[in-house]
């Protein structure tokens, strides 16, 4: 019996959905066991060590007594250990519904959107399904524009314990909303997020990852876009010892546009991995990717992104741009923008760079009286701000800036 099965058996009484849910949970666990842990050379994980996941994480729920972060000016929905806590959550504006995933689990396995792309985090998606104990279903009604950002605040967890959550976000036709995931958890957080942005809808999806320093974070993002749908995704990665964000996007309707950006800041022994697959499946779609790494100490950053234009994805326009700044001799970065194109008439551009802070820029600042460490912080902060500036909502942008400023003060000398 695997360690994961042991904790499954030991805790199955506590699983949401009760006996009805055990069959599909069992199937998922069996699938995980069949697949086994990825081999060290497995392509999808070749830059990302999984040693920390070798032993199973306890599935038993843990008590939470921390201070929950909130974003002022936003609608905060608080999930403790994956479970929505209404007492800490704000009232929702008209046009949005957020239901706890738990209510759905007794009726069957969580449904993924039609045409949702596959996971990039296999086999941990099966683990997520086997153990899923919470999350949300967020629906924005058609033609609704939601001004206030909706923030899913994830707290709780503990070292040695795992929380497996799923957030399923759907924007109906011509809806517009900003949905934020704010992560401040400990232990293993294994999270699936699907977004389904219907025709003409516009989703701003921002992930502010500020988990505890020992946390492990597996984020499995899967976006599907309809005709003329727009998704603007920004990932700000600060916390966790090991964080893998796998983002698989399918441009499924003609004229869809997806811009993904991200900044990852690493110190100590942190490992930040953004693995992306952008699939142009419908004609006349546009995608842009802009990621920045700021890596100090012995940290490592991975940007591995495949832009795929299928036979039906004609007149695709795609860019990939990744730059990394290494703040120490021992920090490392892998930058791999890749293309796979099955049709003609495609515009694709990619750029990739790994370097250190610009000495001439540092001298320029010092020659104006700014001391060297402040100058370094300003320069690295400037790189992060280039990405954070993509966040359209002011309250969220300000919160992201505050998190980055605190990180810089702590990490850049």
């Amino acid at each position: 019996m695997s360690d994961w099965r042991a904790t499954f058996v030991a805790n199955q009484e506590t699983f949401v959905g009760g006996a009805h849910a055990l069959a599909w949970r069992e199937d998922a666990l069996a699938a995980f066991e069949d697949a086994g842990m990825p081999r060290p050379k497995a392509h999808a994980w070749k830059h990302t060590p999984l040693k920390a996941l070798k032993t199973a994480f306890n599935a038993a729920p843990v008590a939470y007594s921390g201070t929950t972060p909130r974003i002022e000016g936003a609608v905060n929905i608080v999930l403790v250990g994956g479970v929505v806590d209404p007492s800490q959550s704000d009232a929702l504006p008209e046009g949005v519904t957020v239901t706890s995933l738990q209510a759905n689990l007794s009726m069957g396995a969580p449904a993924l959107p039609t045409d949702a792309p596959a996971t990039l985090n296999a086999p941990f998606d099966t683990l997520n399904k086997a153990f899923v104990n919470g999350g949300t279903v967020v629906t924005v009604a058609k033609n609704s524009t939601i001004e206030a950002p909706i923030v899913l605040v994830h707290v709780g967890g503990a070292t040695g314990h795992a929380v497996h959550v799923q957030n399923h976000i759907r924007l109906e036709r011509s809806a517009k909303a900003t949905i934020v995931e704010l992560w401040a958890m400990d232990g293993l957080a294994n999270a699936l997020t699907t977004t389904d942005t219907a025709d003409n809808a516009e989703l701003h999806h921002i992930v502010l990852q500020n988990n505890g320093p020992e946390a492990l974070f597996l984020a499995d993002h899967r976006h599907v876009l309809g005709r003329n749908a727009r998704v603007f995704g920004t990932s700000v990665a600060l916390g966790s010892l090991l964080a893998r964000v796998g983002v698989h996007t399918r441009l499924n309707g003609e004229g869809a546009e997806c811009d993904l950006s991200g900044v990852y800041l690493g110190h100590g022994s942190q490992h930040h991995d953004h693995t992306l697959r952008m699939e142009h499946k419908a004609p006349n779609c546009t995608s842009n990717q802009r990621f920045r790494g700021i890596l100090g100490g012995k940290s490592r950053g991975v940007f591995s992104s495949l832009l795929v234009v299928t036979e039906t994805g004609v007149k695709a326009d795609g860019t990939q741009d990744n730059r990394n700044v290494l703040l120490s001799e021992t920090a490392r970065a892998n930058s791999e923008p890749m293309l796979e194109i099955y049709t003609d008439d495609v515009k694709a551009a990619h750029g990739s760079a790994i370097g250190k802070l610009d000495d001439e820029a540092l001298f320029y600042m010092r020659a104006r009286g700014i001391d060297a460490s402040t100058a370094r912080r300003m320069l690295t902060g400037g790189i992060a701000r280039e990405i954070i500036a993509d966040i359209a909502d002011e309250a969220i942008r300000t919160h992201a800036e505050t998190l980055v400023e605190a990180w810089l003060l702590e990490s850049v000398a």
Binding site: R368, G369, I370, E386
Partner: protein, 261 residues
């Protein structure tokens, strides 16, 4: 105010400054002219404290105190300013944030109170006018997408904000059209003060026509080979530097055409 004695500096193994001496009194404007690769930009960078230059010997003092052991930021805090020939563009940092951080770093180092945001904005807008700089540039990332002229105006705007004791203008005129040159020169003239001195490094006479330097030096092959008054500017404009290089090669005393030996 600034005293440079027998300064020798290398880039790598290559000697650039080969025993340069210079005295600049408070309230004066000095100009250095010289052919390409004479060491003009090296001199400005060595004074500003750039670490890529290897100073072999000599001394630079500001008000009698050596600055040789000071970092670039400490020199700036003591009132040394260099206007860059090629100002650096920094994405993600607005001009306002950068200049305000610099102003307050200098103030704090001198035991003065920080300038608050409102005073800063008011002062900045006024001094941008001195150099004809569009105030919209305050909120743009520093020098990113700025034209050559905007970058140079920004340099002199920073000079006006930092109010240094001693400012080096390193080829501030390059990349400026005639109108911009005049505005920038007017900005510099506004900053002239009995307690402040300037060292203007240039190839051309035009900027110097506006700034009217008190003293003009000829820099050839890492040394000041001749020093004269404002009239020297026109001699150099007319005759270039070939005569000086020739005289040095022949071991003759350096003496410009038309001057008394």
């Amino acid at each position: 105010m600034i005293h440079i004695s027998d300064l020798k500096a290398n880039i790598g193994e290559t000697p650039i400054l080969k025993g340069l001496s210079l005295d600049i009194e408070p309230g004066t404007v000095h100009a250095i002219m010289g052919p390409n690769a004479a060491g003009k930009s090296t001199l400005s960078k060595v004074v500003a404290g750039h670490e890529d230059y290897d100073v072999k010997s000599g001394d630079i003092t500001l008000n009698g105190e050596s600055i040789m052991e000071l970092s670039a930021e400490e020199r700036a805090q003591k009132g040394i300013f260099m206007s860059f020939q090629y100002p650096v563009a920094i994405p993600g940092i607005s001009t306002a944030y950068f200049v305000r951080t610099a102003v307050n770093a200098v103030r704090t180092a001198n035991g003065e109170e920080e300038m608050d945001a409102v005073t800063f904005l008011k002062t900045a807008r006024e001094r941008m006018k001195w150099v004809g700089m569009d105030k919209a540039l305050l909120n743009r990332p520093l020098n990113v997408g700025f034209s050559g002229g905007e970058k140079k105006r920004n340099e002199i705007f920073q000079l006006a904000m930092l109010e240094p004791q001693f400012a080096i203008l390193d080829e501030t005129d390059s990349g400026l059209d005639i109108d911009a040159l005049r505005t920038v020169a007017d900005g510099v003239n506004k900053m002239r003060d009995p307690k402040r001195s300037f060292l203007v490094i240039t190839h051309y006479q035009r900027l110097l026509d506006y700034l009217k330097p008190d003293v003009v030096h000829v820099l050839v092959d890492g040394r000041i080979v001749y020093t004269g008054g404002f009239e020297l500017v026109h001699t150099l404009e007319e005759h270039g530097y070939g005569w000086a290089e020739e005289q040095i090669k022949n071991g003759e005393p350096v003496c410009p055409p038309g001057a008394e030996a």
